[in-house]
């Protein structure tokens, strides 16, 4: 059907079907990109950084609290 608009002068010059020329030239072989899983560390990084922040906050507050109350003790 796709050849309908292509003109030719003789049967010898008539173009071959597109599916055939595409097959011969390897143009039918396009495949979608193969999806590969990438390692995702975002959750671990998020958990560790949250833990570090909490730990540092507690440490800072403990030191601050101890220093503040040292005189009273």
């Amino acid at each position: 059907m796709r050849q309908d608009t292509i003109g030719y002068d003789s049967l010898e010059a008539r173009p071959l079907p597109k599916w055939l020329t595409d097959q011969r030239e390897g143009l039918n072989t396009y495949q979608p990109e193969v999806r590969e899983m990438k390692e995702d560390h975002s959750l671990s990084i998020s958990l560790i950084s949250t833990g570090v922040v909490i730990f540092l906050t507690i440490l800072f507050l403990t030191i601050w609290f101890l220093k503040k109350n040292k005189k009273r003790m």
């Binding site: 008539r14 079907p17 097959q23 495949q31 979608p32 999806r35 899983m37």
Partner: protein, 262 residues
Amino acid sequence: MKSNYLKILIIAAILSLSCTTKVSEWFLLNSFPDNYLLVYYHNSTIPESIARQNKELESRYKTSNVLFRSVLKEEIEKPYYALYYNNRLFSEYADYLSLNEIEFSPVREEITSELFAGKLCVLFYLKSGDPEKDEKGLQVLKNTVAESPFGNIISIMELDRNSVEEKHFVSMLLNVESDLKDIHEPMLFGVFGRFRVLEPLLAKGISEENINLLIDFLTADCSCLIKDNLPGISMLCNAVWENPRPAMVNNILDENPTLIHH
């Protein structure tokens, strides 16, 4: 996290499987045939007898890939039927009787059963009427198929283009491309999937190299390019395509992995 990984893995597996299905199998399982449109053109009120016949046509076409419409066209002299495929006029019919077996014929039934049985394809040889040319092309076809590793799962069928019994089928084949009716040469049509017919090889084009390329086309992995831009046209036929037999091509490829190609 683990369930997400699992989901991604399953989706990737499904995608990769769909792309290794062979062209012939993929279209048999997944691609619906295109519909034809049969139009009854009339210039006045439809007589009751004709209306009854048209109703009968509609019910007859329920399992075929053809839709029926009546269209009022005042400028015409006589009512007639016209068959379209993708807005292209294929044939005109003077009356109800000339539509007899438009959707059914012995050869089409045979081809359907071969495809349904899991064959790779039917290579359909339409003879020109010139015995010398016809025999030459047919020998090339038979020899090439006999030497192909897929030879056992390919059916060869032949028909004279002047066949009266198969006139509707021949007319549809000669409409695969707009110039085929004027070319009086042997033609080789690859038929696959749900009666999809590829643009044919003609005359000297019926060569060993081209026939092997046709077989390669049907045994290759079904790429997205082919799915989106399917060559050829659907034939009008009366068939139910549910639950076909498993594709035989897979057994051959499993036994001979060297034949696998993309």
